[in-house]
Amino acid sequence: MNILEVDQLNIKDTHTGKVIVDNVSFELRQGRCLAIVGESGSGKSLTCRAIMRLNPSSLHQTGRILFRETDLNALSAREMRNMRGRPIGMIMQNGMSAFDPSCVVGVHFRETLGEHYGWSRSVIDAMMQEAMQSVMLNQPAQLMNRYPHELSGGMLQRMMIALTLVLKPDIIIADEPTTALDTLSQQEVMAQFIHLRRTLGSSMIFISHDLGAVRHIADDVLIMKSGQIIERGETGQLFTAPRHDYTRQLLSARLTLSDHFRQLINEE
């Protein structure tokens, strides 16, 4: 069963008249993880923000975005706001800039959960602390009273995952969640993403250009280039038998890099 169907999504820049995403159609099946892979500027982030209708108003989007029979593109602003956070959650690329720099991180959790569930502060704090512990954040009570600049990118990323764990959205959109992190934090965060999927059983859209991470977490993969989908398929199949030249190029670029790396190690 499809939980989300994107049908002929078109995104146009009204200032320049340029088409940035060109009639993209895909579907996300219940409980699966769909990875969208592509280089910077391929339109993958815009596509995902279009699903949540978070692109700036200068970008005009047309097409249908069906979430359980509801066309998100046809909703009013207020109805759309109710969709964000709980039914469709998002995890941002850069934890360091995702929180208001002038407030302690706990403020965002309290506002978000207060808005969606109407819980009291003590309930929210208890729920968040439990979730933070489950993503390996120690001393969660103290962490909630820290400002974003006092924490590392990996910790903030895991805090967003913890918030998602409490919100329990039906669809999680993760927009290049590991790109801004160092290798060690990447591994920690990926482990938490897998934990998140296992715990919630939610469907997920995982945007990345890290093919290693995609192979780990995704069931299906879409390859985007210049605003179009050029290849799609199940992860295993796409990685072993890519059909499109560009996909092959992406995969071989990764292989060449790791071969080069192996060579360097062996020479030591």
């Binding site: 978070l54 964000r84 959650g89 995702a98 208001d100």
Partner: protein
Amino acid sequence: MGMYMIRRIVFAIPLLWAISLLTFVLINLSPMDPAVVVLQAQGVPVITDELIARTQQQLGLDQPFLVRYIHWMADCLQLNFGNSYITGQSVWLLLGPALVNTLRLTLVSAVSIIIVSVVLGVICALQAGRLLDRSMRMLAFILTAVPSYGLAALLIWYFSVRLDWLPTSGMESYRSYILPVLIITISYAGLYFRNVRSSMLSNLNKDYVLYGRASGLPERTITLHILRNSLQVAVSIFCMAIPIILGSTVVVENVFAWPGLGSLSVRAILSRDFPVIQAYVLILAVSFVIFNAISDMINAAINPKLRNGL
């Protein structure tokens, strides 16, 4: 935060000392001999060298520069700014009431400027590029460009003479504040609301705004977060605006016959009443330092990153 405030105040002390020295040196560089000023003010018909020497002795002007500076500073710390050369009155008795009058006008104007700038800035930022934003900026541009004495004359003619709603001058009741405050507000808010607007706009596309929206927060909560982050620039500007207005109410005070510092200082400068000028410059400079420190403290309260900066 408490430590920050203490450090910030301690850091202001050397600055205050430097200001006092500079004020004293500059006044002493004046080519006019204060003794001559005093004698002229007393209406002495023939000013002889002997008379000048005696007056210098009376005023303590024959002592070395450093001794005079130390005496003056010790007196200033006790709010004793000496006596006016012209009237012989204590400078503090002369300046004190005028300062209070000007401070009243300044503070009421500052509050009005802050409210108008923030409200207009937020509205224009949220409507950026639309008709309302553009016409508001155009109107502000025109009003700011009109010199305040011209605007004052126009408003007095309309509201005080033609409609007879408001007093033309003096400070009798709250109604006396309306026109001067309006004029000061127009000339400053027209500039400051642009700062609020542009710093709001630069925050609108930040990641935390996107994440707030993606988390389903209502627009008013998000706007408050944007405002909180935008106000840092504005707080510095507003705090510095207070001493600036304090020092530039001359025009408005003269037009409305407001018994404040502005009118007093102009008179003192014209008659070379050195002790009054000295005290006036010192008070203004000190108020710059004080309001600068206040703005730093408010900013540190808004922006936690700044607290460790000192």
